[in-house]
């Protein structure tokens, strides 16, 4: 019955996407690749912020860290890009480990600003240590067209993040993460080691952006501090998750697909007003569907949290 459909549909979509590069134009592949990237980013943000309520306002920092780690390995050490991407993810997780300890002790807006700050600090540091990073000049990678293989790896990463989200949300680990959002003091007094849970969620949420960052660096062939640490990217992830429904499995996916396509298909036609449209869209999402599309469905049809 519907359970089989629920399983069959994603598999069918996955197969179609796997075959897509054969028939698609270069641009279509690249655009789909971007959607995968946004699914990774939004899904990862959802893991820490949607579940524990710790709003990360600097999540793009992990993307940038992964991009630089990957790009340095590729350009300076001549690593193959796939290995560099994995190490990029690892670097982001390492960064999350280092800063997670102090920052996750901060609450509410304090955590948000600390993360925002982390992003700015990383950008400044990357600019400063120019020997390694090229500073403001950025880093150019040797020319190599790997868009199609990167498409597959990014796609797999998106699937991994989504499956991970499903596993977490349907587990008691996920429930425990939610108690942090609900009432951290009570959670601790009930024997939940909130510090460790937060940290785990944080580490998991850093890996995806790290890998995505390194893949993007490889695909683009050039990175500079300004373009891999933009606040706008963090905001876009957040809006995507909010649009789809935070704390849900499919919300980030839905948000990423709908918003990216909207941006690419509709707004690109109106260069001077499209930022205005984006602003208006954010306002509309917040006012009209604060729980996101799936959140609304959940409430209205009493669907389980695990959609």
């Amino acid at each position: 019955m519907s359970q089989r459909v629920a399983l069959a549909a994603p598999v069918a979509v996955a197969l179609a996407l796997a075959a897509y590069p054969v028939v698609a134009s270069g641009y279509e592949v690249r655009a789909t690749l971007q959607i995968f990237m946004w699914i990774v980013l939004a899904g990862s943000w959802n893991l820490i912020s949607g579940l524990t309520g710790y709003v990360s306002f600097g999540h793009v920092a992990f993307f940038g860290a992964g991009a630089y780690a990957g790009a340095i390995l590729i350009s300076k050490a001549g690593w193959p890009w796939l290995a560099a991407a994995l190490v990029g993810g690892g670097a982001a997780v390492l960064l999350a480990l280092v800063i997670g300890y102090p920052c996750l002790r901060l609450k509410g807006p304090y955590f948000a600003i600390a993360m925002l700050g982390l992003n700015e600090v990383l950008r400044a540091l990357v600019s400063y240590f120019e020997g390694l990073t090229g500073g403001g000049n950025g880093l150019s990678l040797p020319t190599l067209d790997a868009t199609v293989p990167i498409y597959y790896v990014m796609g797999l990463t998106a699937v991994a993040v989504t499956v991970l989200t499903y596993l977490i949300i349907t587990s008691r680990f996920g429930l425990r993460l939610m108690t942090i959002r609900e009432d951290e003091v009570a959670a601790e007094a009930m024997g939940i080691d909130t510090a460790r849970h937060k940290l785990y969620a944080f580490l998991l949420s850093a890996a995806g952006p790290g890998i995505a960052g390194a893949l993007t660096a490889r695909d683009q062939g050039y990175i500079e501090p300004i373009s891999v640490f933009p606040l706008a990217t963090t905001i876009t992830m957040i809006v995507m998750v909010l649009f789809g429904g935070k704390g849900t499995v499919w919300g980030p996916v839905l948000g990423a697909v709908v918003l990216f396509v909207a941006q690419e298909v509709v707004w690109a036609r109106y260069p001077y007003v499209h930022p205005l449209l984006f602003g208006a869209l954010i306002v509309a999402v917040v006012l009209l569907m604060p729980r996101g599309v799936l959140g609304i469905l959940q409430v209205r049809y009493r669907l389980p949290r695990t959609i």
């Binding site: 008691r172 429930l175 425990r176 939610m178 108690t179 959002r181 609900e182 009432d183 003091v185 009570a186 959670a187 601790e188 007094a189 009930m190 024997g191 939940i192 080691d193 909130t194 510090a195």
Partner: protein, 235 residues
Amino acid sequence: MATPVLDIDRLRKRFGGVTAVDGVSLRLEAGRIYGLIGPNGSGKTTLFNCITGVERRDEGRVVFGGERVDGLRPWEIAQKGIGRTFQVIRVFPELSALENLLVVTRDRLAAARERADRLLRFVKLDGLRDEYAGNLSYGQQKLLEFVRMLMRDPTLILLDEPAAGVNRTLLNDLLEAVRQLRDRGKTILLVEHDMKVVMGLCETVFVLDHGEKIAEGAPGVIQTDERVIEAYFGR
């Protein structure tokens, strides 16, 4: 004398100028129900907070089951077997009543579910098990908090005003449950202003005033203690 379950030695906690708990020592033995009473602001809740690690004590020791627990994180203390409820309710509002219970144990899921169902039935919340806890009434939340605490099967139970706001009929069931817990060897320390509850339930009562312990003894004895009457009962 058996080794105490909880041994508090000269515990002290200050907030700025106010000394909320001022050198309090208590010993609790296994399988008994203790009462902790005292005027409003005498430091009862603060004492609970210090025992459970929610507040950091300034001085003194807390020994639980032969181990020092002061200085540990709240979750470590909870895992060692101290359970508590809060005076100001703290359920997880956007988790369902059932999830509120499931989330606090590490038991196998099936076992946890069975236990949670039993506890919800007990406080007559089984009809609301899938409702968000935040949508329950004050008293319902209070009951939910009580059974959530029981989910971990703690050896020492700290109850901060369990009767406040709870309907009397239900309260009787609750008190009966507390007695049963005691009979199963649990130790209970409860803060309560309802004297019927305290007198009917507790074997030993401690009285705090201005952060200091001013009396300790059987309920009947306490009720006639001049200092306690002066500070607490009035007239």
